[in-house]
Symmetry: C2
Subunit: 456 residues, 2 copies
C-alpha cells in the first residue's frame, strides 16, 4: 500500500498516458443531456404530493422534508431532499504487481459531472443496479466483491453522502485485494494510489466515489520497520507522523465527550412534508426551485451516453445555484499536524452532526452576507505559499448536475490561535481516522479533502 501511495511509476500506464486517456475518453464519448419537463421523464412520475419517484419504487426519489433544529441561526425550514435508502457499493479492486498495489479504476461517465468522464472505482452500483431493477447489464467485476473473503478485504466502511442533499444516505466503501489474474476491460486501467492522488491535484478528474473510498485508507496500518520514509516528501512525512498520534492537543476521550455534548444538546427533527406544501419552494412543470433562486433546484433530464450499462435514460438531477467551498485549516502543534474540525449539523445526517472541514459553505450568498461562517474570509484570503491544496471537485455526477466544490488545504503558522468556537476542535490525522472507521462521523466533504493529501 505504501509503495503504491508513493509511486507515480506504473508498469502499465504512465501518469501522462492516464491523463490523456481521460481526456480522450471525454472527447470520444458523446454525452447528450436534454432538460425535459418532469411529466416527460420516462419511468418516473410525480406523485400526488409532488414527490418525484421511479416507477419501480427503486433507485431514489425526491421528497419534501420539514426541518427543525435549535442549532445555528436558522431554526426551521422546508426543502426537497434525495431519498435513497439502499446502501450502494463503492468498490475498488486491487492487486499486488511487482511489489506495488495497483488499483483497477474506471473511466466512468456520469451525466452530471463537470468533465463527464472521471476516474471512478472499479464498482459503483446501487442495490437496484446489481439486483438488476433497470434490466441493464450486470455490473462488471461485481462477483469479486460479492465473493471476497475476509483476508482479501483491506477496507470496508459505511460512509455518508452530502447531509444537506441526501436523507441519511450511505454507501459501502470497500477495497479488496485479489490474487487472480484480472482481465482489464475497456474503460478500465491499473493505477497506483500515487497516480490517483496526482490526478486529484487538478480539478474534476477523480470522481467523488473514488475520493470517499481512498479517504479511508489508514497508511500507518501499513508501516513496517523496514519502510524507508526518505521516499516521502517532508510534508508527507509530517502527515504520516500526525496519522500516528493518538493524542494531540486533545485526547480521543475529550473529542468523544465534545461530540456527545453537542449531539445531546442540539435537536434535529426531520419530518416528511409534501413537496407541494414546501414553504419557499415551488414545483413547476420542469423544475422544483426556491422563489429566491437560492441553494439548488431539481430538474428533469434525458441522458444519452455511449458506454454505460444503459445507454439512454431519464432522471431527475439536482442542480446547485452556486459553488461551494470546503477547506481544512491545518496547524503544527508541538510538531504534529492538527486539523481544525467543525461539528456540523445537516438535515440529512444519520446522526445529527458530522465532522466537517473548517469551512464548508456555499460561496454566492455567503460572500454577500455580513454574517459569515467562521474562517471563510481567512481561507479565501490565504496566501499561495500556505495553500497546500486547491482544486475544484465534482460531487456525485449521478445525482448532481455540475455541482462542484472548491477543496482546499491551508497551513497556518504559530500565530494562528488554537482558541476556536465551541463546535470546532483540533484533531490529529490519527484521531480523524479513528472516527472515520466507525462510520458516519466524518462527512463526505472532510473525506474528500483527506483523499487529496499527497505523500510524495
Amino acid at each position: 500500500m505504501l509503495n503504491s501511495l508513493l509511486s507515480t511509476q506504473n508498469i502499465f500506464n504512465s501518469s501522462k498516458e492516464l491523463l490523456s486517456w481521460i481526456q480522450r475518453r471525454n472527447q470520444e464519448v458523446s454525452v447528450d443531456i436534454q432538460r425535459i419537463p418532469f411529466n416527460e421523464l420516462e419511468d418516473w412520475y410525480v406523485d400526488d404530493e409532488g414527490g418525484i419517484r421511479h416507477e419501480t419504487g427503486k433507485f431514489f426519489s425526491i421528497q419534501g422534508i420539514h426541518v427543525e433544529t435549535d442549532f445555528g441561526t436558522k431554526h426551521s425550514w422546508d426543502q426537497p431532499i434525495i431519498n435513497q435508502p439502499e446502501v450502494g457499493y463503492l468498490g475498488i479492486l486491487t492487486k499486488e504487481i511487482q511489489g506495488t498495489l495497483y488499483f483497477l479504476m474506471q473511466a466512468k461517465i456520469e451525466p452530471g459531472n463537470v468533465n463527464c468522464v472521471q476516474i471512478s472505482p472499479t464498482l459503483q452500483a446501487t442495490k437496484s443496479n446489481y439486483s438488476r431493477v433497470h434490466k441493464g447489464k450486470r455490473p462488471l467485476y461485481l462477483d469479486y466483491f460479492l465473493n471476497a473473503l475476509p483476508h482479501q478485504i483491506l477496507l470496508d466502511q459505511l460512509q455518508s453522502e452530502q447531509g444537506a442533499r441526501f436523507l441519511r444516505k450511505r454507501n459501502r466503501n470497500i477495497i479488496i485485494k485479489v490474487d487472480d489474474e484480472i482481465e482489464v476491460l475497456e474503460d478500465f486501467r491499473w493505477m497506483t494510489l500515487g497516480q490517483i492522488k496526482e490526478l486529484m491535484q487538478t480539478s474534476n478528474k477523480v470522481n467523488m466515489d473514488t475520493r470517499t473510498v481512498i479517504s479511508g485508507i489508514e497508511y500507518s496500518d501499513y508501516l513496517t520497520p523496514l519502510f524507508n520514509k526518505e521516499k516521502m516528501s517532508p510534508f508527507g512525512r509530517d502527515m504520516l507522523f500526525s496519522s500516528m498520534h493518538e493524542n494531540g492537543l486533545f485526547s480521543m476521550n475529550n473529542h468523544l465527550s465534545w461530540l456527545s455534548n453537542l449531539k445531546a444538546k442540539y435537536d434535529l427533527f426531520v419530518t416528511n412534508k409534501p413537496v407541494n406544501d414546501l414553504e419557499e419552494w415551488e414545483l413547476s412543470a420542469d423544475e422544483l426551485s426556491r422563489h429566491d433562486g437560492q441553494f439548488f433546484r431539481v430538474i428533469g433530464v434525458n441522458v444519452s451516453i455511449s458506454n454505460r450499462e444503459v445507454k439512454s435514460w431519464c432522471q431527475p438531477l439536482v442542480e446547485p445555484m452556486q459553488e461551494g467551498l470546503c477547506a481544512f485549516i491545518i496547524k503544527k502543534i508541538d510538531g504534529v499536524y492538527h486539523f481544525l474540525v467543525q461539528a456540523k449539523l445537516e438535515c440529512g445526517n444519520f446522526d445529527v452532526m458530522e465532522l466537517a472541514p473548517t469551512v464548508q459553505c456555499l460561496t454566492g450568498n455567503v460572500l454577500k452576507s455580513k454574517v459569515r461562517p467562521p474562517y471563510v474570509d481567512f481561507v479565501l484570503n490565504a496566501k499561495k505559499e500556505s495553500t497546500i491544496y486547491d482544486a475544484l471537485q465534482s460531487e456525485e455526477g449521478g445525482r448532481f448536475y455540475h455541482e462542484q466544490n472548491r477543496n482546499m488545504l491551508i497551513e497556518v503558522g504559530d500565530d494562528f490561535s488554537t482558541e476556536v468556537p465551541f463546535n470546532y476542535t483540533w484533531m490529529t490525522l490519527k484521531q480523524l481516522y479513528s472516527f472515520l472507521k466507525f462510520n458516519n462521523f466524518l462527512n463526505i466533504q472532510s473525506r474528500s479533502i483527506l483523499a487529496a493529501i499527497k505523500y510524495v
Copy 2:
C-alpha cells in the same frame, strides 16, 4: 478507578449497610400504582390516531410503526413504540477519597421497577426534567454535570436503549470526577465500584441506568505499571487481559467489515402508522395490546410515591407479557476470553443492527416454539459450574412495568465450536469496548451484562 473496582471496603458504608439501606428504603417508601383508563391519565391524551401523548408535547409518546425488513424470519409487522426523541442525562458523580474513587449513588424509586427502590446514578434526567417542563424541583446535582470541565469527565457517551421498545432513543452516559466537597443528600450514598458490582450479583438492586453508565468504563485505561494484579480474582485478571487484546480470533477490521456487510445487506424500513390501524393490535379504554396477548401491552397508571421530584402523577407504562433472557457465552481462545456476539436487528435501532448478547429473546413463546434462536437451549441447560453470572435485572422503571430480563454469563470449554452462524462473531473485551465508545454499537442488553462482570 481500579482501586474502586477492586474494593468492597467503604469508609462510609459497608456493603451490608448499603443492602439494608436499599431494603429499608423499599419498606419505608409508600408506592401506590393504580391502573386507570387512558382517558383518566392526567396531563396525557389519546390523539386522533390512537397515539398517547403528554399535553406539553414533551416527555415521551406511544406511537404506532410499521416495520419492514429482509432480515430474520418475520419480514413485516406493526407495533406500538415509545418515542422519546430527547437525549437524557444518566450521570454519576465521583470523587477520590483516600486514594479510592467513590460513586455517589441514589436510592431511587421508579414506578415500574421490581423492587421499587434501586440503586441509580447521581443524576437521571430527561431534557424535559431539567428544563423543568413538569414544574418539579430542579434535579439534584445537575449543575455539577452542566459545568463539568473536560478534565473532570471520565466517560461521556451516547448510548441506545431497548431497540424493540424505543424508537432510536439515546441517553448521554456520563461520569464526572470532582474535587469539591460534596453534600450527601438524603437518599444518596457513596459507593465503590466494587460494591455496585457486588449489589449487581443479586437480582433487581441496581437499576438499568446505573448498569449502562458503568458498562462503558474501560479498566485497561487506568492500568499503571505499579498496579498489583494480585488483588484481582483469577477470572478478573483474565477479563482484564481480554480487555487489553486489540486482536483476537478476528481483527477489528474483520469485525468492521462483517458489520458493514450486514448493515448494507439488510434493510430496515420503519414508517409511522396510526395506532388505530396497527395490525394485530387493539387499543381499548385501558390497554393497547395484541390480540394473541403476546410480547407486551401499554397500560395507564396513576403513581403515588413519596421522595421523587413530583409526588403523584399519571403516565403510560409498557408491561411485558413474558420474561426475557440475555446471555453472553464466553470462551478462552488462545488464552484470551472471547465473547460470542450477535448482530441483531431491532426496529428501533439507530443504525439497523447493534451488537447483542449471544442470546437475547423472550422466554415464554420461545420455549414453546420448535424453531428457537441459536444457543437458547445451550444457555438454559448450562451447568452451574460454567455459569459465572445469573441474575434478574429490571429494565428502565420509568417506562416499563415489572420488566425484567435474566442476565447470564456462561463460560464454555474448548469443545465448544468457534464456527458460528453468519450474524455471530467472537470478540475480545477490548474489541467490545472499542465499539462501545463510538456510540450505538453495543445494545443495552450487552452493556448490562458487561456491567455485571466482577474483578474480585
